[in-house]
Amino acid sequence: MNTEFNLEELKVADRLPSPSGTALAIMQLVQRSDATVQQVSQLVKVDPALSGRILRFANSAAFGARRPIADVQTAVMMLGMQTVRNFALSLSLIGSNSNGHCRRFDYEAYWSRSLAISVSIAAITAREITVVPAESFTLGLLSDIGSLALATAWPDIYDECLGAAEGERLLALENERFAIDHKALSHTLLADWGFPMVFLDALKLSFEKKVAGFNRTADFARQLIFARLIGNYCVADESLRAVMWPDLAAEAGLHAMDEPALLRFIDETIELWHDWGKMIDVKTDVRQSLLKTVVATEPVLPGLDLLLVDDDPMMLARLSKQLAAEGNRVAVCRDGESALKYIIERKPQLVITDWLMKPMDGLALCKALRASAFGKNIYLIMLASTEDEDALVEAFDAGIDDYVIKPVSLRMLLARLRAGQRIIMLQNELEKESRDIKRYTADLAAANRRLKSMANTDILTGLPNRRYAMTRLEQESATALRANQPLSVLMADLDHFKSVNDSLGHDVGDQVLVHAANLMRENVRTSDIVCRLGGEEFLIIASNTDGTIALLLAERIRKAIEQKQLKGVVLHNPVTVSIGVAGSKGAKPSWQELMKRSDNALYLVKQGGRNGVRLDSSS
């Protein structure tokens, strides 16, 4: 894909998750400055399910309800219109996106986790108030909406991304395919839906690993990170929960919770989560195993994607264990051919290969890789049994980046891997930069094309404008001079147009202009150029046409406009046009003079009762 990300385009194409029904109505209402609690309550009451949920929402202990609230209006007042609006928005999104076509995207787990985050952020903000808990609840529910949006807008491509991605690579892949990642898209969508600035800022901040700073936004961001961890914990199975516990406990320390307090807090949260799940139809019996959530929680994976190639199984056993212990992801192959196959499929960042192997040896493997597009950037380290100069030169010529002499010292190999990693990182940065530059250049070229075309186009009628008309007429005049050809211009002016604008308003005036412009376009020949000079004034450039023929053209246009009146609008006078025509031969007279003469002819038509055509007398 790799085009610029365009939110508006996606919205128009109706490809994003979007609110519907009552929620949409509430959103539109709340957007108006004069919306009242009564009006919002009325709308809520139309939807019994929503009414029930909002009452339950308002009565929720986490939001500090002190006495039971029995009617919707009080609930709306208590919660605030914005909160009601966002709550309705979330519910409508859940309702219409509980499943979909993206195969690897687990819709149930997505909402289940979002609800868990939502319940915990509300409870966290109730403990230490940074924002109103009821408001934070809705933000929690939608805090990862970008993932859902990508799965909704591009189910197939996103499916592929999820399949190919491991951990951090998902963000990079998303950026590559969609020019945006799910985090940035979450932010964009929430901004588009009018969520408060402090939420948006905190959300953005919460994508960082560690949040510094001690203001409301930073505090709230830390709460979001904590809530996200709890959300992941809720949807995890027992073994995964055990893995997550240390991180969670550490994060809880920032929120003045020791382990017993955290346990209690999580128990309460899980209970609330189940309650809410029942109420708003979100499944809460989702349990993700270790593998699945590795993708969902995106841990930072240090080290390199390595491939070890050696026909010596002991060497493979030894190095794969030792290199994996250093945090690398190690794969092994026993000969060059299977290595080549693996490299094509999995694109490791670095290959360590033995020299002598059958059927394909290390040297042949290096040559094959360097000759291919996919292999030319892979960092290659050769395990050599000799330090013989000729042999090593041959290996470097075959394309290796470095070598290690057998018997392999782990310390030396690790040092060389670090050097390789530096090169790989630099290479990645360069590649990203060049991709970015390509994207910016494409964006810029597109923007320039748009600007250029805008600068030459009349927005209302889509016709070329005065600027274009003058440049073009000058060019046509030069052509006429070179080829000693005739050239004519038609100056057209709609009759009594000012009265249309004055009596029926500019909207109708604009309709008349578009109508007349279309008729002119339809009635000229392909070589003629119709331009709108401004107001109700049009210029038609008729190249290789003398005055007499141009007069016939003018008459055809006049007649078409007179006969085809604009439908659905009642005008005082029918739409008619007066046209003055002037012709030249071999650019004599000049194009400026031609304009003047056609204008004079037009003036005479206007004097003589309009709705007519006239050829300039000297043409």
Partner: protein, 153 residues
Amino acid sequence: MAEGAVCWDEASALKRLDNDHDLLAEMMDLFLEEVPVQIAALTAALSRTDFLGMTDAVHAIKDMAGHFCAENIISLAVSLEHSARKASVYDLCLDSASKVPDANIQLMTDDLIRAMMNLVDSLQLGNRSQRCSTSYILAVVLHPCSKQKRTKR
């Protein structure tokens, strides 16, 4: 070297593995699995008087022994690899009818195989999981090449 004497350097081998005893045990297992394969390849190449094939097998044996810092085997392997390579170059100049295994190479091969068997014994003393018995390996690999040829025919 005397039969049964320790012919490898456990301390150096372990040091190379960061004193990872589990990894060493794992590599011993792999070694015991791989030895018959390489020795069979070596004797088969010798019986075919395929000197280039011999260098491949000897090279692999050298690498395997290298993991256990078995210096004796490594030096035997280095000289056999060298001789076999030289023989393969000489071999190119002769027609196939006159191919005779160099008596010297035959001797060196026997020495190397005996040293390998020695190493197998030593490793098995130190390794409880005896996946592969010496007698089995001997049965597979230690018969004279003339006899092997006869059985084939």
